[in-house]
Subunit: 205 residues, 2 copies
Amino acid sequence: VRKRKAIVTAATTLFLRSGYQGTSMDQVAALAGVSKQTVYKQFADKERLFGEVVSGISGRVDAFIADATATLNATVDLPGDLRDLARRYVVAVMQPEVLQLRRLMISEANRFPDLGRAYYERGPERVVAALARAFHDLTNRGLLSAADPLLAARHFAFLVLSIPMDRALVCGDAAQFSRSELESLADSGVAVFLAAHGVARQSRL
Amino acid sequence: VRKRKAIVTAATTLFLRSGYQGTSMDQVAALAGVSKQTVYKQFADKERLFGEVVSGISGRVDAFIADATATLNATVDLPGDLRDLARRYVVAVMQPEVLQLRRLMISEANRFPDLGRAYYERGPERVVAALARAFHDLTNRGLLSAADPLLAARHFAFLVLSIPMDRALVCGDAAQFSRSELESLADSGVAVFLAAHGVARQSRL
């Protein structure tokens, strides 16, 4: 188990630094300090090892989803809770290694579309699906108006993430956003979302 | 001039297919049917040639901006005109070679951040700036309510583009959207934008 973890840690470092094609099983074995046989015994091929790396990084997704769902289910101040959620969401997605994983998937999308789809389903799409379930429940409780909760969840996600994420992806590390800039962008995205889907005065009932 | 055009066309094909690092001036010369000396006479180095390729593809941006600006300046049905504009915008951005250019910039962002910034300023940012000017004027005319026109323009752009663009970037060609799907997503983005920034009944005055 310790060896397995060392292999995944080494592979994460190498894939994010050198890309999928630029990383060999030999390099992973060397950085993890194990034999190549051990790597192949744990992971049948590079694609499976890469899948494990993606899972590892998207492990944080579970914590975020659990937290977001609990917060929205128990909300007594939906605008405030949506702003908190949006701020945590954009700060999480703008972490350098999360951005770099997304950049890597985009770089390799033409050669390895299955990897891209697997990443999309395990990461971004799971968050959107969880938000959609929460928006559906909030609509049933009369706290939100989202006739199409999945579409509303996608709009929410991109209103909150897109401005800094798109610039950072294209412009690289030069596109630095301070935490307060990210939070201000998140707040402005939530304001647009609530203009479309909010229920007037629901937090003052 | 004819040789210059042949060089840019060849370079566009090669950069989009093989990436920046995967393309050599030799290959460009060969595909363009000119000597390497001719390539270097026209373009001092690969970076300048790449800049020309980016300019060529973003040449379409000028036509889009001129059209969008004229439409919004003369609007008598803002919701309808915004929907038309949004539909044309997303269809243009989802063209395979536009997507592939964006994917290329994202892939190379860490190694060549200057290229990414140049692309961002010549392409996406110019559209957003033009929309911001139009939203500012519409607000002055009482047809729109955008206190921060640049922020409103960014929200508009990502509401209209992000859902299909993000999926296509990550999942590759497998993420096919029909024209009617793109148009429906554009319409839904405009509806959210107008909920936040619309002026009630302005089109019925």
